[in-house]
Symmetry: C2
Subunit: 638 residues, 2 copies
């Protein structure tokens, strides 16, 4: 063990520099060794030496057209009025690519040659200049020319050109070798359903795939128990075989201490904690002369740690430029708070509304891997910035390609499974089209529509005074707009209760006693409005409902809470009950509508959505979810 000092909770740049110093001190190689490989195997590899052409291409002057090779000087004076005749011994028929015959220096295209009697006399109607339709020796590349420098990642055209310039083998960096070591007593391999408290080893799967995606050879060790001696031995073994070791902490926030001690014992500890969110319990160090990263166990942290620390190092070891993602400027659809002192890597969904890219922040927990799955971009809020206001213009690194983002129907508002079903049907029919729905509740959707941040807003907002849904809010919230409303579905709302309805719940009236615990939806959600309306009708004080203050963002989250036994019931749709095998006590039938600007009805990007809503197949699949009525699906109701 080295006694090198390490730094704690420092900015990413400082961490990178400290790690670089530690690697240099530990004698870690600056570059991966060279390997000589056949040209065909060199694609994707990085040149370790410049490639100089060893022969010219073409190797000699060749015909660039099919026709006849002639001596240009022989053709002087030929014209339409004075055709010139060349005897068979003064020209030669050539195909494209044929070497130019000795003494001949130009080619006349096949189409421009006529043959005169006795049949082998070529008749020309125009003179030709020297070297017409001749490809010169070295036109593509001359012997001795620099074809490609060192440090170039070879593409298909590169190896083809290298082969044409005489190469049969190329000197490249061999692929970097990455060893992943999963640790933790609670971690179990993927394949069998984990028991409660066990965690699937999805991190190894992901890190291996990330390493392979950037061209590495990667392998994972078996899952190691929480024992410093055993983990230390695994690190030393891996370090002896790999160019980079990724030691994955268990899920525990305290495990990074463990990792730090193991790394310190195996070599040197350079960094313990980086001011990056999520992901800050990163450990950077060395084992022997091999770099080691202690990767946090939370999956988003793990993925970003690879991006921020592993991928740039691997590129450097190959002598190649670091990875890079294109950037765009986007408008934030919501306020985005951020803590000072940490670079905050926020995942965002992107769409293009009214010619502007809009970004909607996704959940920020380090455990919410789906936030990275659904992300179209990454937005870094630097440590010195406290966040951004809604509508702010921010730089975003793209995770999805711009044309796909521009072909995204942005739906913001209430959550309904029918939108998910529509998203997958639209994509199946047209791989370039995406329907992205962001769940902020019905009210939030109408606000987003007002602010030009979405194409459609999903709403089932009950107006207590009139008992009508959604329509009464439009004049109030969108006075300067001409909103159109298209019915998506009717749906049953009801109480989701454990299988067999053990408490014998019959309706919302049963909440009055205070003996049942409830799980609620967030403020602004249509389902919350429905609850409040019904409770008023039943003269039940919300404050008397146990769990009224506990908010979940979606129907499925409510169902999950009931399924987990965290609450006795919650209001939601039947499809959510089905997904979790719960029972369903009907409370109300409500319309769920899509609100949009009237002119958007003619937006060609939305046309497939309207077509889908009219299709019998789609309606049948909606009905099959349970609790839905499609008799008005696709009807414009305003």
């Amino acid at each position: 063990m080295h006694d090198s000092p390490f730094v704690n909770d420092v900015p990413a740049e400082e961490a990178t520099a400290a790690w670089r110093r530690a690697r240099a001190e530990a004698g870690c190689p600056e570059r991966i060794p060279e390997a000589v490989v056949p040209v065909g195997d060199a694609v994707g590899r990085v040149t370790a030496r410049p490639i100089w052409a060893s022969r010219s291409s073409p190797v000699g002057d060749v015909a660039a057209m099919d026709g006849i090779a002639v001596r240009a000087a022989d053709t002087h004076g030929a014209s339409e009025t004075a055709p010139l005749h060349l005897k068979a011994d003064s020209y030669r028929v050539v195909d494209t690519g044929d070497p130019m015959p000795d003494g001949l220096d130009a080619v006349v295209m096949r189409e421009h040659v006529h043959y005169a009697p006795p049949g082998d006399v070529a008749e020309l109607l125009a003179a030709v200049p020297p070297y017409q339709h001749v490809r010169s020796i070295g036109e593509d590349v001359s012997a001795g020319e620099l074809l490609l420098p060192e440090g170039h990642r070879l593409r298909p055209v590169d190896v083809a050109a290298a082969a044409a310039a005489g190469a049969t083998e190329l000197t490249v960096r061999r692929p970097p070798k990455v060893a992943v070591i999963p640790t933790g007593d609670e971690i179990v391999p993927i394949g069998s359903p984990p028991r409660h408290g066990e965690i699937l080893d999805t991190n190894s799967l992901m890190l291996l795939a990330q390493a392979r995606e950037v061209g590495c050879e990667a392998w994972a060790a078996p899952i190691q128990p929480d024992d410093a001696e055993i983990i230390g031995a695994a690190v030393r073994d891996a370090a002896a075989a790999a160019d980079l070791v990724l030691l994955v902490a268990g899920s525990s926030a305290g495990r990074d201490d463990h990792t730090a001690r193991v790394v310190a014992a195996a070599g040197s500890l350079a960094v313990h904690g980086v001011a990056v969110r999520p992901g800050h319990p990163v450990v950077l160090g060395t084992a022997g002369s091999t770099p080691v990263i202690g990767v946090p166990g939370y999956p988003v942290s793990a993925a970003l740690t690879f991006d921020i620390f592993a991928a740039p190092l691997l590129a450097e070891l190959e002598g190649a430029p670091p990875p890079h993602r294109p950037q765009v400027t986007a408008r934030l659809t919501r306020k985005l708070p951020s803590v000072l002192g940490m670079d905050d890597w926020v995942r965002v969904r992107l769409g293009s509304v009214g010619g502007q890219i809009v970004a909607t922040p996704l959940p920020r927990g380090a455990g919410v891997l789906t936030s990275l799955v659904r992300a179209d971009g990454l937005l870094v809020v630097p440590s010195a910035v406290e966040g951004h206001r809604a509508g702010a213009r921010v730089p975003v690194e793209l995770l999805r390609r711009l044309p796909e983002i521009e072909r995204t129907i942005v739906a913001i508002g209430s959550h309904d499974l029918v939108l998910d079903l529509a998203a997958t049907a639209l994509r199946a029919a047209d791989p370039t089209l995406t329907l992205m729905s962001s769940n902020v509740g019905s009210l939030g959707g109408l606000v987003a529509l007002r602010d030009g941040l979405c194409h459609v807003a999903g709403s089932h907002l009950l107006h207590p005074a009139t008992g009508e849904y959604t329509l009464p809010y439009l004049d109030e919230m969108l006075p300067d707009r001409k909103p159109a409303v298209v019915r998506l579905v009717h749906r049953e709302q009801g109480l989701l209760v454990p299988p067999g309805n053990p408490n014998g719940i019959t309706g919302l009236a049963d909440l009055a006693g205070g003996g049942l615990s409830y799980v609620n939806r967030q403020r602004g959600a249509g389902t919350r409005m429905l609850l409040d309306h019904e409770l008023r009708g039943l003269e039940i004080d919300p404050a008397a409902v146990a769990g009224y203050a506990r908010e979940e963002p979606t129907h499925l989250a409510v169902a999950a809470a009931v399924a987990a036994g965290r609450a006795d019931c919650g209001l939601g749709i039947m499809a959510a009950a089905r997904a979790f095998g719960l029972d369903f006590v009907p409370v109300a039938r409500e319309p769920y509508d899509l609100v949009l600007d009237e002119e958007s009805l003619d937006d060609p990007m939305l046309a497939p959505l309207w077509e889908l809503l009219g299709s019998a197949d789609f309606r049948a699949s909606v009905e099959a979810l349970g609790g839905y009525g499609t008799e008005e699906t696709g009807h414009r109701i305003r």
Copy 2:
């Protein structure tokens, strides 16, 4: 054979549509079959079905921190002034990820717990709200939730999230299968040096690599002779096994007729010739129910045919969005003529000068594969546009990443091998730095510098009146600028003559008789100016020099022409003679300088270049080229 009508020399879009109709008529599948693969093997594949979560993650409520699990209600009233004590039976120690014990609903962080005597009594200094530091069941994903739609190319995070949501296998499209059939009597396999008139099969190498790069399984048939029967049989065999057949024509321009006949006989011919340059003899059709592309034999045409026709079809077969490259707007450094009626795919080099991206067109021949190797971008001049003026702003598809383009030293002007040597040394030291040199002659370089289109101009421009080099031109050409001049090298110019100097040439005076053929450099090249100056001194009329009108763009091209026996001699540098094993008859020693704006001397991007010019190692490697003097290398001479 079907008798379907085919279309000839049509725009690319029309060709794509005609081919689509032909595929539908021939019963070609719209999508590749599904395959069920383990999650770990699914990265890079496209989902054939939506992925719905089959279990929630986390599967139950879990601790989000290390600490103790408590009942939030038990902590009411705790404060620094009124610490609260919890007995051992009313809390439980938990690690992050542990299931929440029954009845407990919040976690207090380890750091905030003190233990009071007898040691197992937890002391709290603050009350905690319910669900503090608890990750809810389904926080990441809820059972029944849509994780990913059909038609999504799976990334590492996607498979990790799918595994966390309960998947062990995924239904994806299997990789597309692509068969490449090289044809042509003159085509020989890579590996042995081809004889003159033979052509290496670099196209198969390239097309296989292109297909694999977009995720296909690809193989090549042996090279087929020019025999329609034999090729037809190979096409039928390949079509039976592959999802797409690439039939590569020999190099001959007439071979596409051959290919068209073979395709028509094997199935149906939809398109014969597309109005795209280079590449227009493309053939599109079907064999059985498999799509076939007749790929032109010229390598640039072959590469672009894959990009324009094969890659989008392969993406469509996988049900994924088509490939896409980011675009930028760039300023053209030169006039760019283009023929009407053809989409012209021009390869360009890019750099960033004075905050603007500048694009320099590369040679446009279909045989110049190095034009694609050196290209940083592709510029399509649409068929209705006759070209662009110098300085025009044009859209460019990026082939290299923007940060690398922005770290490119743009050198325009005279060609010298020392610049190539510098390019590779700079890259070896810093993989993010590129030195790109574009050869337009000394005069062209000074014009580019004047117009703000390059960082440095390489010049060895003789001023006949004074006998000085370069400096006298600066006041004349750059009157409003403060140009600085840094000496790169002194170099020998001389006559490049065949090995053994068979004509016994002793100097330029020997050109007087007219009996020797000469190969010249282009107008504006310093070497051309030197020749003219020397001829004037010798009182030789250029018109009397045989071959004076034949121009080559570089020293190496001149050497190649002499080596090919196309000329008896040409003026050039000694390194070029060495590259081609030629003899060298010295004529003059001249300085070769780099001209730049004075303020560019402090541009940090150029600093490594100045450092390199000062290094003894670099000077030694320059001297080793032969014919160079480095005694003033790196000196600022103005």
